[in-house]
């Protein structure tokens, strides 16, 4: 695979965004204490009434946004390769042969 600096930068950015949204902020969420998931948790009393709601440390909208941004960057990396015409070598290789006479 022929890669340029821009290719590598886009792939690195994509991976960083996806992993930040999932793993890095997931670790932050665990270290911050309950709730360990990424959604609010309602605490109820014995009668089943909601007495308190605890929210995640990091808004899940931010985390999903980071992941989606990472996937968009990955799509951009594919678009960049397409625009550059990677695969054009095949096109040249299959052009009709030109002879001298």
């Amino acid at each position: 695979m022929q890669t340029t600096t821009i290719d590598r930068a886009l792939l690195a950015l994509s991976g960083a965004l996806v992993l930040t949204g999932t793993v890095v902020l997931g670790i932050v969420e665990i270290l911050a204490g309950e709730p360990y998931g990424a959604a609010p948790v309602e605490q109820t009393n014995a009668a089943g009434e909601v007495v308190n709601t605890i929210y995640p440390a990091v808004d899940p909208t931010i985390r999903t946004g980071l992941v989606i941004a990472g996937l968009v960057v990955l799509l951009a990396a594919a678009g960049y390769r397409m625009a550059r015409g990677v695969g054009a070598a095949d096109e040249v290789a299959h052009q009709p042969e030109v002879v001298a006479d």
Partner: protein
Amino acid sequence: MATRAATPLSEAFEFEVDGALTAYWIAALRVITGWWFFHAGVTKLITDGLNFTYGPGYLKGMTGTALGPLPVWMGENLAWLIKPGVPLFETLIGLALMAGVLVRLAAFGGAFFMTLFWVGNAGFGHGLVTGDFMGLLLFVTMGVLATGRYYGLDAVIERTEFVRRRPRLKYLLG
């Protein structure tokens, strides 16, 4: 050679996409992912026909998400497309993946659907990585690995003169 003799399965399990087991497994994943979407689409077609009215309402309810106003706008303005489009495109995406035709295009469509489901369902009680997210990653994987080239019809289509003369089509096939 000594290493090869000591690990006779090293070639069978090596991370070469065209390695025997890798190609088989990638093709199997593609067909199963395709069946997943085909089943979702065709059962909607059976029950609702081309009038999946739940779709626009679902999108209108997606307020305050990472996708901003896009889903709500789609629900309000693209209902004419979403009602027939959800069952139809799910079915077609599934068929494309199972047959291995236009896999990258189908995978993009599937990833778009799964992004909306992942964010819209927002079942993050056990963390951000949900079943919907794993489905989204499956579609991305289908596209990145060009899985239609392994036991799929894209392998045949890409060898035609038409595609050889237009190599950019491999970004939709594969």
